[in-house]
């Protein structure tokens, strides 16, 4: 039976809180303090990945399978999408491809950096 008290997420949260509340204020050296904040940020990514529980990968796999019209392992499907991109005419103008990639990207970003604001569409446009 899995150990549940505290579970992995709760344990991670405790470590992260300790670093943030007890260690960070005690670190004077700017370079070290910067590295520590990067490390705490890294723990945040791990926490969000744990909470997602593989949903991101399963979602990506399903989207790729639907777009390519075939089943397979995630790594294989990614390779197949690469071949599709290599083999099609102006794939960067395919709205269905871009929509699918954006859905996958949004789910990854929600884990890696949910606060990140991607560039917004402007009126200028790319030719």
């Amino acid at each position: 039976m899995a150990i549940e008290h505290p579970n992995a997420e709760q344990l991670l949260e405790a470590v992260s809180e300790f670093l943030k509340q007890s260690i960070l204020p005690a670190v004077d050296a700017p370079a070290l303090s910067y590295q520590l904040r990067v490390a705490i940020n890294g723990l945040g990514i791990v926490g969000r990945e744990l909470s997602a529980g593989g949903n991101q990968q399963r979602g990506e796999q399903a989207l790729l399978a639907e777009f390519l019209g075939q089943r397979g392992e995630l790594v294989t499907l990614r390779e197949q999408l690469r071949s599709h991109i290599e083999g099609s005419d102006a794939p960067y103008r395919d709205p269905a491809l871009l929509e699918m990639l954006q859905k996958i990207s949004d789910a990854k970003l929600a884990i890696d950096n949910p606060k990140y604001q991607p560039v917004r569409l402007s009126s200028a446009g790319i030719r």
Binding site: P91, L98, V119, A124
Partner: protein, 328 residues
């Protein structure tokens, strides 16, 4: 390197420059690992305190094609002579037991930390002026006859894109968004421009700013000869907006202001559309640098939590690339 040995080396080299005895004080290492250092220090010479910077050694884990320190010094001397706001090189430091080859330059006043540049009240006026000033300085740089910069490598756009794609593929990570963006760059070549000196890393973080705006341009290691609009696109990459996504130029200004002074300074007609190609190029370049940084860690060449975490910034690059590609 020991502080004492370094101090003696600097005193010896700088005494030659000022033709009098020099005393070194306040040595403070700013960045650097075993192989490469940037060190701030003060020298007492000619009866006053001279704020200086030593850059020496070459980082074996520096991103590819980075200039060696002696090459960087000769480029700095060239652009300084042309009146660009860069530090004056004071002395060349030969390689020795104490340090790798390097150079000493004047330490310019100004703020380099992007967060402070973007938020400090004292830079409010500077922020209004910066985008236009960046355009003007880049125009001056790109107006220099590139034949004078024989120390730099010349690269065509296509070769550069292919080289970055090769680097990306070497890491063995399959990122379809990257494949798509590389395909776009190769299929739709940009407006050809006469080759010029490209800074290669002109962005918020590598500029010095004071209350009047741009006061210095730093970090010339990625300089090369190529299509100059690369510098303008790189300056607009979202990562260098530090969260101020609506201020496309470094988080402080807009593209119109940048292009206005740039085009005026060069009598040219770069449009936002042309810039868009180079923004895609810039995001991909940043993505390949992220891959490279995390690989240095993962392959055990230099273990570092910072390099590890930077690998997860690829998601940011992907998010920006998709949106940029959707704009056509």
């Amino acid at each position: 390197m020991t502080d004492m040995a370094l101090v003696r080396l600097l005193e010896e080299c700088l005494s030659g420059h000022w033709q009098s005895s020099v005393t070194i004080d306040n040595v403070k290492q700013l960045t650097g690992g075993a192989a490469s250092q940037t060190t701030a220090f003060d020298a007492w010479a000619e009866g006053k305190l001279q704020p200086l910077i030593l850059r020496c050694g070459d980082d074996e884990h520096q991103f590819e094609n980075a200039l060696t320190k002696p090459t960087e010094a000769s480029l700095l001397e060239l652009v300084y002579q042309q009146g660009l706001p860069v530090p004056e090189v004071i002395a060349h430091i030969p390689a020795s037991d104490v340090s790798g080859a390097g150079f000493v330059m004047r330490r310019l006043a100004g703020e380099a930390l992007p967060k402070r540049i973007l938020t400090d009240a004292r830079f409010a006026t500077a922020r209004e002026l910066l985008a236009g000033q960046c355009g003007a300085v880049l125009a001056s740089l790109h107006n220099i006859d590139p034949r004078r910069a024989a120390m730099l490598e010349s690269v065509s756009v296509e070769d550069d894109v292919l080289r970055y794609r090769e680097r990306y593929r070497e890491f063995g990570q399959c990122l379809p968004v990257f494949d798509l963006a590389f395909r776009y760059l190769l299929d739709t070549p940009p407006t050809p421009r006469q080759a010029a000196i490209v800074h290669g890393d002109f962005r918020n973080g590598n500029i010095l700013v004071d209350e009047q705006g741009l006061s210095g341009v730093l970090d010339w290691e990625l300089a090369h000869i190529g299509n100059p609009i690369e510098d303008l696109g790189w300056l607009c990459v979202n990562s260098w907006r530090f969260g101020r996504v609506d201020k496309a130029v470094g988080g402080f200004g807009d593209k119109r202001a940048l292009l206005e002074t740039y085009n005026r300074g060069r009598d040219t007609d770069v449009s936002e559309q042309e810039l868009a190609y180079w923004e895609v190029f810039g995001v991909l370049k940043w993505g390949v640098i992220c891959l490279y940084q995390s690989a240095i860690h993962l392959q055990g060449k230099q273990r570092s939590v910072e390099r590890a975490v930077i690998g997860r910034r690829l998601s940011e690059c992907e998010a920006d690339l998709i949106r940029l590609l959707k704009e056509h």
